[in-house]
Symmetry: C2
């Protein structure tokens, strides 16, 4: 018996998409589901009760950050990430791979900022610069973005750290490449990721943690069809409890690449699209068989005053909202829309009050988790495509109004 169960309920006719229930020892997750990010064991600006009340089912912490501070050993001593942060529901951690190659390597905060492959020191070129993460067959040496100290992750070390952090679902350690890396480099990185994946499976099995923590493998391969399919096949045959689809592709390729991958992955196991959360990508991902998403965009945008509405994004700092006594959205049932006006939010943002970030984050997370909830309902009712058309037409018609 594994650490999680997964049951498929309904499917989108003719497509890979489905609804289901993912069972963990900390409660069930109705899928598809949006996973809320709590990077450093805190969903920024929110209490766990606020996270729960807005409809979130599961929280994801970042292994790289928690390893550096406060340290995974401390989180273990505190009873694991859930107990440490007072979140009683299901939890996940990523492998640290993405951050090691972005933050740890000290060249910008997003994989999209990777330029051509030369930016990441690769294989035999690894001595080129001391600033960057150094990859070898065994693992990656990197510098902390906090104090510049040197650290090393191997597949085994990543899993060990994730055992200490103790989330219900953890990820295999992978190499996160630039979406612009060429076919040769993507192939090399992918093959290494596959060897690392097997080492993660072996280490996890030996550790005796298989019944308490589910291990997800990560499919890579960039934007190349042959590599994505090969990676899905290889990773899909390994003894994982679920799968992640690595986000190393251009935005316009997401639906297609996800389709290639999920067509080959075992149908019976859950699939997580890493770091993706735009409404259009959520529809595309779900249609193509994704069960879980995580993304920092809703909370990051919220802290900047950008709010989701069904008519597209709005910037609450726009002067027109300073005297607007209507809620952010009239038909939204979130805490923020039930109790506060646009004018109040506009005031809090201008006054630099912390509660501005709280109210905006609640609305944006409620919007995205609610969107995924509604999509799930429509799949169950057989009306996915009608809802998708209606939602996206309205949302993107006014997309760039106020941003």
């Amino acid at each position: 018996m594994g650490a999680i169960s997964f049951k498929i309920l309904e499917k989108i006719p003719g497509k890979l998409g489905r609804t289901g229930v993912l069972g963990t020892s900390h409660g069930e997750i109705k899928t598809p589901s949006f996973v809320v990010v709590g990077t450093k064991a805190s969903v920024k600006a929110l209490s766990p009760e606020q996270v729960s009340d807005l409809g979130a089912q599961v929280v994801l912490g970042n292994t790289y950050h928690l390893y550096l501070q406060p340290g995974d050993e401390l989180v273990r001593e505190a009873g694991g990430i859930g107990k440490f942060m007072n979140w009683s529901g299901p939890t996940m951690t990523d492998s640290g791979g993405f951050q090691v190659f972005s933050l740890g390597a000290a060249f910008g905060g997003s994989v999209n900022k990777f330029s051509q492959k030369g930016d990441v020191s690769q294989g035999s070129d690894s001595n080129k610069t001391t600033k960057l993460a150094k990859i070898d067959e065994d693992g990656v040496t990197f510098r902390s973005h906090i104090d510049g100290s040197e650290h090393r992750f191997t597949p085994e070390r990543s899993i060990e750290i994730q055992h200490n952090i103790g989330a219900d679902m953890i990820f295999a350690f992978d190499e996160c490449t630039s979406p612009e890396a060429d076919h040769d480099y993507q192939t090399e990185a992918m093959e290494r990721t596959h060897r690392w994946a097997q080492r993660c499976v072996d280490f996890h099995k030996k550790s005796g943690k298989r019944n308490t923590q589910a291990l997800f493998g990560i499919v890579q391969g960039g934007r190349f069809e042959d590599l994505r399919k090969r990676s899905a096949q290889v990773i899909g045959e390994m003894d994982f409890d679920g799968f992640g689809v690595g986000g190393s592709f251009e935005k316009e390729d997401i639906d297609t690449a996800v389709g290639w991958v999920n067509d080959l992955l075992p149908e019976s196991k859950p699939r997580h699209l890493l770091g993706i959360g735009e409404p259009s990508d959520i529809f595309g991902g779900i249609e193509n068989g994704i069960d879980l998403f995580d993304c920092v965009a809703p909370t990051r945008m919220a802290r900047n005053g950008t709010l989701y509405t069904k008519d597209g994004r709005m910037n609450i700092l726009n002067a027109r909202y300073t005297h607007d006594l209507s809620p952010v959205e009239n038909d939204c049932g979130c805490y923020t829309c039930l109790h506060y006006t646009r004018a109040y939010l506009a005031h809090l943002f201008r006054a630099k009050e912390m509660f501005a970030a709280t109210l905006a984050s609640i609305h944006n997370l409620a919007f995205i988790t609610g969107l995924v909830d509604t999509i799930r309902d429509h799949i169950n009712k057989g009306t996915f495509f009608e809802y998708k058309d209606m939602f996206l037409t309205r949302y993107y018609r006014k997309k760039s109004t106020s941003l």
Copy 2:
């Protein structure tokens, strides 16, 4: 029938201190009570539910800040400060006097930073500098600390703005002097404050707001016994619903000065000590007849990582707490202490997570409101002095341990 009612329940034998119930149209306040400050219509880092859950009974907004932004007219249109900020309990506003003379005059954020009287332009000297607030018999001209724009408050204007903000209890417009100002200047300022007080009473009566908003007069007079007593007599005879004691005295004089004043003020009306919140001052104020306190110290200290405990203050950023899995206080029943460890708070502060300020503010406000609640219980039981000795001995024994 006035906007508030006040009933005295028990007294401290041989002293001016008492417990009571202050009734407002937004609920009753058990007194003595600590008033939580929500300067810009938000208690920093907290939701109104968190404010209520930690035991706060009443919130005070700052007229100066709300007038400048978002504007008192907007707050009125939004239904008043309570509705605007989603706080359903009793509310107060100050008169703006303190901020006009500190922030508005652009020389530091605290009245204790006033140096000798020359810092505030005074009466006939008012043209000395354009940087400072300019006082004349009719009112004060000052510059916004936000954009430097020029504004003018008169007693009538302050009351009009407070009518727009719409709190249950409002304050007369007073001149806030430096505690170091000499007897001559304190006399001059006090006499002007008395004339302004009468104008506030007259304007408030004419406005027809007496049955919805209670007006408190403010006793000034600095550290001088003759002036404090004179001010208490003059202000006490005016038709106010309650009284404020202005905080223009040195810390060591507070108990004495409060005693002079409250001995003369009408016993049947509530008394508010403005801007004071240290545990020793709370005991001293209550013993000498104070019913209400407000102070930003608990939340301001919280945001800096300084936490109240019964053994004195602790600085959660001290290295010894990074691996301390006990709560801030073992016997504290606040949300923070029930659910989080010192190590988690230490981590959040180091990680610069906003939730650090939330958890620390909850603890500090719960500590101070809880302290006042406990003092009230001991007055009712007749054990005030025993509790005061016990608390202060323990608290100040270790006062400077970690600060």
